[in-house]
Symmetry: D2
Subunit: 402 residues, 4 copies
């Protein structure tokens, strides 16, 4: 297992780090201030387009996409340290056109979309001109078991008709969100993993209705937001079905694998940010005549955080390497492992950092509370811990079944 | 240690439970709907005054106050199960005039206030006509060490002059908030615990300025809110100093002891609510062909939650009993113990319940996310865990020092 | 719930404490030395009989037995602090004739035994003249599910015939062990909880064979020991069946309830001993220029231990009170709760104390390693944690099932 | 970071695995049986010499030593998977001449010993003809702070005179133990890390006296054992001082670095063994009508174990790689990280496996209890967790100190 970072990856990492610290972080601070002065949080902030353009000009664009022409042509392993850098800022993924769920949606369209899908939706997505959403989870059923899904994508002649209610569709509130990918039941008689279809749906198609925007642990996550959305007899041409009816599970698997790895990479970056904040705070604040770093168990907790981050990062790199070397079908175990390990680790590190910051850690003065909320959501998004553990256990036990 | 609930307490508990389920819970739901329809969250909701009046008429009013005339005359132990019931709803403490920080402030005025303080401020507080705030924590220093405090309450002739910046002043955003209690440094030369004073400050005194309202873990906690507030040469008559200069620490101790116990009692109620929700959800939702209650480690986690709640409640009752029997000076160890144990327990129970609810657990459809945020804040409010542990350890080690 | 200690209990506690510190602890140290000098660990140490006689003369005898004539006539709640004192020494329970499994066996014979059983076995047990063992767990099956039991107690005419293999029969190695209680399958067709019988078996009955003595986490626990024992066509008169055939489960339930509470009480005492040792060590040893108590997270861990012990003790007292007030049938939930909570707590406290002692903590110079081993065994003995959690969860969920 | 296993390492791993399963494991079982039949546990078992010879003939000998002539010439990274295989059996390290503390002692003599030391002691150690011990820890002081050390190695003319008491000298009970390395204070006036010397001491030198053998968590770990040993005016020629006076700390650092990594590698193997046992048991035992693997949280715990082992192994590989690439001085942080992370992980995995085995897991029928004891000791040996965490925290905080 060669985890050596390639020269190209290292070079991009340096450029990214410079760009983030010189351009993204100051811009993020400015946005923060504008919001405190009353700016509309649901609009794309002035200056964002220019920043994205600058990133693109520097070649810091679509780094997630393995395709060398449309994206950067990096392996997953090469992308890992880059995603980690992006993860250290909450707006950086947007700046570099690498934010979820757009990356996953772009991958779906890239791998499974028709020529028309790619022309109409993938192209503007790759250019960062539009945003997208993904509609899988449903409020009425335990969506951890995907076969519970009740929404339908019925094939009727040369049309597909969508009905159902979805929620936690991240990005749905973004002013540039123009398209969503919908997953629904097509053929209840088919085999367990051949029943569902994925459909490309223009956001403004008739019958699509955003019912409300949800808060996640108190945060509305503007300007992306998480939406609850209903589909009432939404009729689309059959060509809207990605790769044909019944391939929903197959596509979901292909989509969620890399997506989960990317999430975990960014989470490592977030944990590093939290640990850095914890160290700086513990050195600069005094109580009982000493810096916090020298009080009680604080230093031990900082050590525990470093040890936890190192282990989690290595596991993510292993998953990335496995995806590159063995393909999506043989990385599911590793993906489930990091999906469990990384958010759990990040939550502990961030929580430790919050505690060291006192009240400041819980409010908007530091990115810690929002980071915690995001990580907490990740213990549920793309499959709850419990489901991933079941998968890991099944792999493990299978080695000993006769 | 006789923890038997008195007949009076049991009777009040029954009345409270009925009132909460028949009046408070439906009203809470209604408020929720109004807010989704755009109601101003920073106003007292229509109907609240009537509900408070009804509670008062039923004798469910000021139950926290041991004084038999002004309050209900209950012991702390008698109050415990009542506070627990109130803790199961987020608005119930307000309805029964038992919400923080007003209860603590009322206790300060009751025990240490002058006749004038009691007439001007305690009376309307006891009647639920006004709300109050408490200003102790400061943004610029580690407030876990109270001697770090930089705000000043300078005695100048027959006046007291206040300067400084405070934050996390809960209740400051409430439209009825009229008064706050400010703690500041009066005499830097005095003994470590004789340097500070507490001062009653009308909210609209000249020089008092609310700088901003803070979010706590994403929540603004309207209509109470948490404020950051500056004091610029606020001049008040010397009579505003509670019990005279230099008694700040003494009063804080007396105020925070019962206050922390009340917080913990309510937190037990919150944890019970979370566990109830977890049970109901795990019985009603199905995945992989079974109710969640029968999947993986879910039932074990429910058992762990019950075991944890039972232990925490008993420790809170012990603290209450000790306060009643031995007084505030001899309950500090017990108070620190529950201050550490209870929020930690509640966070775990609530987090478990959230996980069982999936995405629903994180959003506004259930009170879990807000409950988590409140409990997380409690690991810092009134002294962070680490400081309370130091106090417990000091007690423990003192038994063996020669 | 009145947990007030009665005057009688308090008086006995004082006498016990004095007796333990003046007589038992020095004697324990002496035994330790003799063993290092080569004494036979499987013999009753010289002097033990005299010590037991002295305890008996002081009325510190059979305190566990609620019967006022045969025992001390104490309630479970009254006995709790006494068991806790005994738990602080590894030999104390023997000195006061309150050690497991004899206490449980005496209770079985007291409640369910015939006149003959009581005369022949209960009497010498109560006098501390003989010791006993209990044979329930089997090596070949998961004994956490008692219905897995394969040993048989077949009724044949006026005889009962025993066959099977049992292990973890504590006390089997004691030179005074004369009798054991055996549980086996009598009628596979009967209802699930009516199939098994309990039988009184003289240790030297034909067909009873001790196969080997087991180590528990490295300790042989001499002179009691844990035995593996086979029963090959052991024939006894039908009168050996306690309370008649088919009542095995009923008796086990009645036996194990109080037994588990007693175990937990003693475990609280053990945890207190560990915490005391931890405090003393952390004050007396220096590293990096400071006593250990002031290094890193040590003080926080001491506080956590105190907080954990307090909570666990209160839960044990609640279980004791419930047993006294509501009877064995209505205390099963509480018993399962403490059976999970107390060993877990004690293991953490002891482990913390070991770590503070460095190498000394792991060896025979301190009772910590042996204490840890005993507590680890208790997570399995009388039902593993997982089974008790299932029971607690079932109780909890039953509240919400429609 | 290229963690790819070399062909040579892979080939040796296969040979080792075959040798262990075909020769070592059956031999281990045989020894076990002989012991149950009364064999002297403190003698080298018959057949061991032959097994060692066979291992040597297959080139499975001294694999730990980077020297290509005297050892196998493997990098640390190449050795890692081999040590892991050896760690899966308790006697394998002896069979392949790779057991502690001999490996560390051989490294000391190899790197710092004189020609005479190497001829007299290193040679027979490398041939597996003799065994050795290491004397650093002292009973009278907190040895976690090595500067506390009280034993002396006084230079007197051309002699060195040793005095003091050491304990936890592993291997001291072995019949072939002929030499020990002693660390003592030479010059109290010298710089903090120039005060101590290491001295080669023939076990039978006059004045060396084994006071007693210690149990570690109940185990005597025969035939190696852990000794307490006094040095009373032990006089040796000055040439016995390794590399000259005052270099004790430097040598200790060089010795303990790789030694800790080797310990951690073997611990990964032990954890894998425990997980394998857990899986096999959970598939083969039934309770409540299901295999244990399908009951409650068991499968989740198996998944957690796999996730924890993977992360820990990767961190160990990173430390090995860092040692190879950057040298001993720049791997201290990584070494401390694994020293904390690996035993903690292994203890949890082993404890989980024990619980799944019920009573069988605690006794000699499975290697789990002894494995747990060994891992518990490792949280103290070569520096307790707390000291290693301090070192990790210091590194972390140093990045942010101005």
């Amino acid at each position: 297992m060669n985890l050596t970072q390639s020269d190209r990856s290292r070079e991009l990492q340096k450029k990214l780090e410079a760009f983030v610290s010189e351009r993204v972080v100051p811009f993020e601070r400015e946005i923060q201030q504008r919001i405190q002065q009353g700016a509309d949080r649901w609009q794309v902030p002035d200056g964002m387009a220019e920043l994205k353009q600058a990133a693109r000009e520097q070649g810091l664009w679509n780094l997630f996409l393995p395709d060398a022409e449309l994206g950067a042509g990096l392996t997953t392993l090469e992308y890992a340290p880059l995603a980690e850098v992006m993860g250290r800022s909450l707006i950086a993924p947007e700046v570099f056109n690498c934010n979820a769920p757009d990356t996953g949606n772009m991958e779906v369209l890239y791998h499974y979309g028709s020529e028309a899908h790619r022309e109409q939706w993938l192209k503007p997505l790759l250019e960062g001109k539009i945003r997208s959403a993904f509609c899988m989870t449903e409020p009425a059923v335990a969506s951890s078991d995907a076969t519970n899904m009740q929404a339908t994508a019925a094939i009727e002649g040369d049309e597909v008709r969508l009905n159902g209610r979805k929620w936690w569709s991240t990005g749905l509130g973004h002013p540039d969100c123009k398209v969503l990918i919908f997953m629904g039941l097509t053929d209840p008689q088919a085999g367990r993993h051949r029943r569902h279809s994925m459909v490309v749906v223009p956001l403004h198609a008739e019958g699509v209705r955003i019912e409300r925007m949800l808060h996640a642990m108190g945060f509305d996550d503007a300007p992306y937001g998480h939406g609850e959305v209903t589909f009432n007899d939404v009729r689309l041409p059959g060509s809207a079905v990605i790769a044909g009816p019944g391939r929903g599970f197959e596509i979901a698997q292909g989509r969620l694998g890399p997506g989960r790895i990317h999430h975990c990479m960014r989470s490592i970056g977030l944990a590093e940010t939290a640990l850095e904040l914890a160290c700086r705070r513990s050195l600069s604040r005094q109580a009982f005549g000493k810096p916090l770093a020298r009080l009680g168990g604080n230093a031990e907790r900082i050590a525990d955080a470093r040890i936890a981050i190192e282990q989690a990062r290595l596991l993510v790199l292993k998953a990335a390497w496995t995806l590159d070397e063995k393909g999506i079908d043989r990385v599911m175990n590793e993906v489930s492992q990091i999906k469990v390990a990384v958010p759990r680790m990040a939550l502990e590190v961030i929580d430790m950092a919050m505690q060291l910051h006192g009240g400041a850690g819980m409010c908007e003065d530091f990115p810690l509370a929002q980071a915690w909320a995001g990580m907490r959501a990740l213990r549920l998004a793309d499959g709850p811990d419990e489901v991933h553990k079941m998968l890991v256990a099944r792999h493990e036990l299978a080695r000993y079944r006769s």
